[in-house]
Symmetry: C2
Subunit: 146 residues, 2 copies
DNA sequence: ATTTATGCAAATCGTTTGCAAACCT
DNA sequence: AGGTTTGCAAACGATTTGCATAAAT
């Protein structure tokens, strides 16, 4: 399900950050790598009952600091987590249902991305910012809620 | 500081929602209307000491349901609130400093907005979504933190 | 062997809620 | 009067943390 190349890559990132790649962290990466949308902690716990919540919280912090995982904010009461784009090589954004809170990965045309990157960098530097990345969420009603 | 036309407009929205425009809600609109970036509850309390936190939380829910206020998620531990764009007529996005959490309103070129609206609507419907609006955040380092 | 991670239970803290008094209309 | 809002204090719940044990190197 999750390639060993991915585990290699995460391992590298953790080592670079003087962190260990323990079995709990590996399982966390397995769960996140199999998902098609960012997961909440309850979802993670449900998908792998062996993961203690407190350790999951702690490990997500570690993985985030090592840039293996990204925290995502949608609309509901939980944060969500996904593998970093550098690991998946799939630049994407999120479609969020404002009714049921459902979150789905989505990609937008490459030409649009390119133009966004370029123009937003300009806008940011005009305000004295060094742009790191952009977050683009599409908010609406999913097929079930419309 | 805050035009009475704005209060008129908010009043309308509340009446339409069978809600009263009380003095606490009016003061809340005053504070939000004077801000140049979305405010956290602590910021609001600090800007108007007369506002009890619990009532502020409750009133923000009321104002949000009436579409007078929008909840904004940045990076830090508090939600942020701003007047709805329909009231300010100033479509904008947010520049977020990933270091200090500072949030600043920013506008992007109209041509880009237009292209975004059009293409994102297409992308969304391709996924069975009815797009309501998009959220675009620029994440980077502010002048002080860079 | 020594350092780091784990899991449980307890603490934290932003947010929500119950309730009696104040407010509106 | 009749219903709504307010402010205080208590409750809630997602996240964090202390600590003794287990795992990793």
């Amino acid at each position: 399900m999750v390639s060993s190349a991915l585990h290699e890559r995460v391992h590298e990132l953790l080592v670079r950050d003087h962190q260990r790649y323990t079995s709990a962290r590996r399982k966390l990466v397995d769960v996140l790598g199999a998902a098609t949308h960012p997961l909440t902690i309850p979802e993670i716990s449900h998908l792998d009952r062996g993961l203690a919540q407190s350790s999951t919280y702690r490990n997500l912090v570690v993985l985030e600091r090592a840039r293996a995982v990204q925290k995502v904010v949608a609309n509901d009461e939980w944060y969500r987590y996904e593998l970093a784009e550098e690991l998946t090589d799939r630049h994407h954004h999120h479609l969020i249902c404002s009714e049921c809170g459902m979150v789905q990965d989505v990609e937008v045309p490459a030409a649009l991305e390119q133009r966004l990157d370029q123009q937003l960098t300009e806008v940011a530097s005009g305000a004295g910012f060094r742009l790191d990345h952009h977050r683009l969420d599409l908010v609406g009603r999913c097929a079930d809620c419309a």
